[in-house]
């Protein structure tokens, strides 16, 4: 399993908690202090996006965050259940609540833009369960090894 796993109700007030936990685990994993701000911002963006998708889709399931430490890298996976609700792909419109979904999509697009600008190693995928954003950073020990 992941080093630390977090599941939280899709509410905006819990995104800060996810940021704090992710930064703490990243620091312990050896991610450079200078990069911790990026980790905090990127995981916050991914979680805000997931919260927005769950809320606009009327989903009651939690947002999932996995913090994974291995020898060379620290990775974060943020999973949502957005595709599972209506068969929608990330960025698609929810026909039942078009205005709300549109606003959520605009925010979610801006969030993705920030993540891709911040993180070099990022993957956005979707399967039958939902969307998954995976981001990785080198750890200090890996960076100094030849």
């Amino acid at each position: 399993m992941a080093t630390v796993e977090l599941r939280f109700s899709a509410l905006p007030e819990h995104v800060r908690t996810a940021r704090l936990v992710a930064a703490a685990v990243a620091r312990r994993a050896g991610v450079d202090e200078a990069v911790l701000d990026e980790v905090r911002l990127a995981v916050g963006e991914a979680c805000s996006r997931a919260v927005g998708l769950h809320r606009s889709g009327g989903l009651e399931s939690p947002v999932r965050v996995a913090l994974i430490e291995d020898e060379k890298a620290f990775s974060i996976e943020v999973g949502d259940d957005a595709s599972a609700a209506s068969g929608r792909v990330p960025g698609a419109r929810d026909t039942e609540a078009p205005a709300r979904a549109e606003a959520a999509d605009a925010d979610s697009d801006m969030g993705l833009a920030v993540i891709s600008g911040l993180v070099d190693d990022v993957e956005v995928t979707a399967d039958e369960r939902g969307g998954l954003i995976r981001m990785s950073w080198p750890t200090t020990t890996a960076a100094v090894l030849p």
Binding site: P12, E13, V15, R16, R19, D37, R40, L41, G44, E45, S48, V51, G52, A106, D107, M110, G111, A113, V114, G117, L118
Partner: protein
């Protein structure tokens, strides 16, 4: 830390002092504050972000919304920020071209371009 907001007036400019974290949870409070100011006829805003500890894309969205509102009244929205970690997110999103960003409140208040 939560969001803190206070406003004051310098000449025809309204200074909004923002502190703490602007994220998906707190951004609606900043939005309400900006909307209220514009509805009350304050169209030249200076948002002082020197005490902001965290800003995400939701916060950027609110600032862009504020800019749209003041521009509808031929107003202005200027930012004060010297913090590299906050400036970085404006650069990543290209918003440094959209917002005038100043080093100090005095500089923002004096600016007329």
């Amino acid at each position: 830390m939560d969001l803190s907001l206070s406003t004051r007036t310098v000449g025809d400019r309204t200074i909004v002092d923002v502190g703490g974290e602007i994220d998906v949870y707190t951004a609606p409070k900043l939005r309400e504050q900006l909307v209220e100011l514009v509805n009350d006829g304050n169209f030249h805003l200076v948002v002082d972000m020197e005490r902001v500890e965290f800003l995400d894309s939701t916060g950027l969205g609110v600032l862009v919304g504020g800019l749209k509102r003041v521009r509808a009244h031929e107003g202005s929205l200027r930012l004060v920020c010297n913090q590299e970690r906050i400036l970085k997110i404006f650069r990543i999103t290209g918003l440094t071209k959209v917002f005038p960003i100043h080093n100090s409140v005095d500089e923002a208040v004096a600016a007329t371009d």
